[in-house]
């Protein structure tokens, strides 16, 4: 087997294109994944035209909220570019200098202050449907955040006004009496009514006292209600089971698993098919090498190469994303068993195909949907289809390899033991299929 392994390594070394791909591929993928994950999505570059007069405020009771606060809230959510006029903003959007423009009209304060009409902003977009969709969602999210911030300020001002109405206030004028609050009136009236003789004005004052108490209680309630108007529903999340895998490290696991599968399956299937294509298979298995030893050699070579590639990818991505190197032993176990499963699948494909090109095509056509199917979330398709997908994913090594690597790298559930056993069983099954396929070809 050693002589065959050395021969295949020599052939691999002389296949410059293949070696080039094997070297460049992990570096390129690691860089792409690393950069994509390490750089948070940037804020959209948006032109903002603030047509409101400087210092304009929205009157809420006795409080005044500056309109500029709204613009500030919006600036926080986007990469803002202040533009003096709507026409300039229009030009900037059209030329692609900015992704969108938001025009805050001059009458925004008057409309908000009127309490009758909603203020209206104008948003300008450009680009194709995909860009528009992306930018629109980003700008709408930014506007929603700004709206929430601004409404909280208005609520605060309204709440303070109601508070002053209930509690009274000091007018700040020397010698002037404090204004009585609505909340104090029932108590004051009650004292006065108690000192009055029954009948006459007393009954009228008792009615006024009742009204004052009712008004005070309801205004107090209105103050509480105000806080729920801006954000009527808040979300509280509870994780029922399993450990959460951060999306970025899960992306790493997916990228490494897919690369491991493609390289391993393609190398293993190509290796076996090459023996057929070169007509050397019959020469080898006529007593020089057993079928099992030949398949084991091809699987070992493919698994070894893909394992090195996967480790190189993880090391490269670790430069961008924090990975827990103390779990390296588990990484190795997951990658080794994953590679074994993929190698067994590869040699089975190679045993069926008669030439390298057919084997490569078959390997590619099988691997690609396997990766997609394993990533389909349960709610995305109907129950029956999801069950069918589950059966297919169970019968091939990709999902088990993904689970094993996710458990190894991120400590995700299910724990690593079960996927490793699953992979070991699949390795034996596909190995046996490969052996049967190769013998059938004799």
């Amino acid at each position: 087997m050693k002589a065959l392994l050395l021969k295949d390594l020599l052939i691999l070394r002389r296949s410059r294109l293949l070696v080039g791909v094997l070297v460049v591929y992990p570096i390129a993928i690691a860089l792409l994944i690393g950069l994509a994950i390490s750089r948070a999505p940037g804020k959209p570059k948006v032109a903002i035209v603030d047509e409101t007069p400087p210092g304009q405020t929205v009157q809420v009771g006795s409080e005044r909220v500056p309109v500029s606060r709204y613009a500030e809230q919006l600036f926080d959510q986007v990469q803002s570019v202040k533009v003096p006029t709507r026409s300039k903003a229009f030009g900037d959007v059209k030329s692609g200098k900015v992704l969108a423009a938001v025009v805050i009209p001059a009458n925004v304060a008057a409309r908000v202050g009127s309490g009758l009409k909603q203020a209206q902003l104008e948003v300008l977009y450009n680009g194709n449907a995909l860009e528009q969709s992306l930018v629109q969602s980003q700008v709408e999210a930014a506007l929603a955040q700004a709206n929430i911030g601004f409404s909280e300020q208005i609520q605060r001002a309204a709440s303070q006004a109601i508070g002053a109405l209930l509690s009274g206030r000091n007018l700040g004028v020397l010698g002037a009496p404090d204004l009585i609050g609505l909340g104090q009136i029932p108590g004051e009236l009650h004292g006065i009514v108690a000192r009055m003789a029954p009948g006459g004005d007393r009954a009228a004052l008792e009615r006024v006292e009742s009204f004052a108490r009712f008004a005070s209680q309801n205004l107090n309630l209105a103050k509480n209600v105000l806080s729920t108007i801006g954000q009527p529903i808040r979300v509280k999340t509870t994780l029922i089971s399993g450990r959460r895998t951060p999306l970025n490290t899960f992306a790493v696991v997916v990228a490494v698993s897919v690369s491991l599968m493609f390289v391993c399956v393609l190398l293993a299937s190509g290796g076996v098919a090459l023996e057929r294509e070169e007509h050397t298979l019959a020469r080898l298995v006529r007593g020089l090498v057993s079928h099992s030893a030949l398949l084991a050699e091809k699987a070992l070579l493919a698994a070894g190469c893909s394992l090195v590639l996967a480790l190189a990818m993880l090391a490269g991505i670790a430069a961008f994303v924090a990975l827990d190197w103390s779990r390296f032993g588990l990484w190795l176990a997951a990658l080794a068993l994953g590679a074994a499963g993929f190698a067994a699948l590869g040699v089975a494909i190679g045993a069926l195909a008669r030439e390298v090109r057919a084997a490569s095509l078959l390997a590619f056509l099988l691997s690609l949907p396997l990766a997609f199917l394993a990533l389909v979330p349960s709610g995305a398709v109907g129950g029956g289809v999801y069950d069918a997908i589950g059966v297919v994913s169970f019968a091939f090594p990709f999902k088990a390899a993904l689970q094993a690597l996710d458990a190894a790298v991120n400590g995700a559930s299910p724990s690593i033991g079960l996927p490793l056993v699953h992979l070991a069983v699949l390795t034996l099954v596909f190995g046996a299929l490969a052996r049967a396929g190769l013998r059938q070809a004799d």
Partner: protein, 247 residues
Amino acid sequence: MEGPRPTAVAEPVLSVSGLAKRYGEREALRDVSFDVGPGELVAVVGPNGAGKTTLLSIIAGAQSASAGSVSGPAVAAGAGQIGWAPQQPALYSKLTVRENLRLFARLEEVADADAAVAQMLEQTGLGERADERVQSLSGGNRQRVNVALGLLADPHVLALDEPSSALDPGQRARLWQFVGALAAHGTSVLFSTHHLGEVRRYATRAIVLADGELLFDGAPAALVARGGATDDDFEGAFVAFLGARGH
């Protein structure tokens, strides 16, 4: 139909007995039996699909028989003692001539692999091209390497499946000179061919197969006589022989 007349061999190095091979419903070989003695040059001839390649593959151990057996001292000595050059050159095109020879010498556990490689390179006249990759060789030279691989372990029996098919007349002459020398040193050679002139010229014995059945086993001259042709028209005699038996 007249049956074959097996040639009596006193001390066979290879005995084929009741050999049969089926591919599903199709019978590629049917009850084929013959012996091969030391130093014999046995030509296996027949029309396309007669079972020549199947017969040589089974003798070489590359295929299993459905029934019957291949036995004798050469078989008992192991796979390396029956050399085999398949119809399609079985070589690694990205390896050099020397690397191909060395790999198979090691796989056949030849005692001194480097010496065996050097000897093969000299015998086949490929010394100057030893370090060229097989993919750059002509069809004829590939066939020479293919034959050389079959000879690495200095086998008692050599099975050559259409060894001269890709060769020009000069290369063919050199091949038969080389094979003749091997036979002179005691190596038994079985070869299949469609060049009937080679059978007449080089074979000491001819075996005729048709539809998997052995129709003739004897000296080429005897086949000519059986075909009812003159000595210089071996091809005519062969065609007449087959025609008389419905092939």
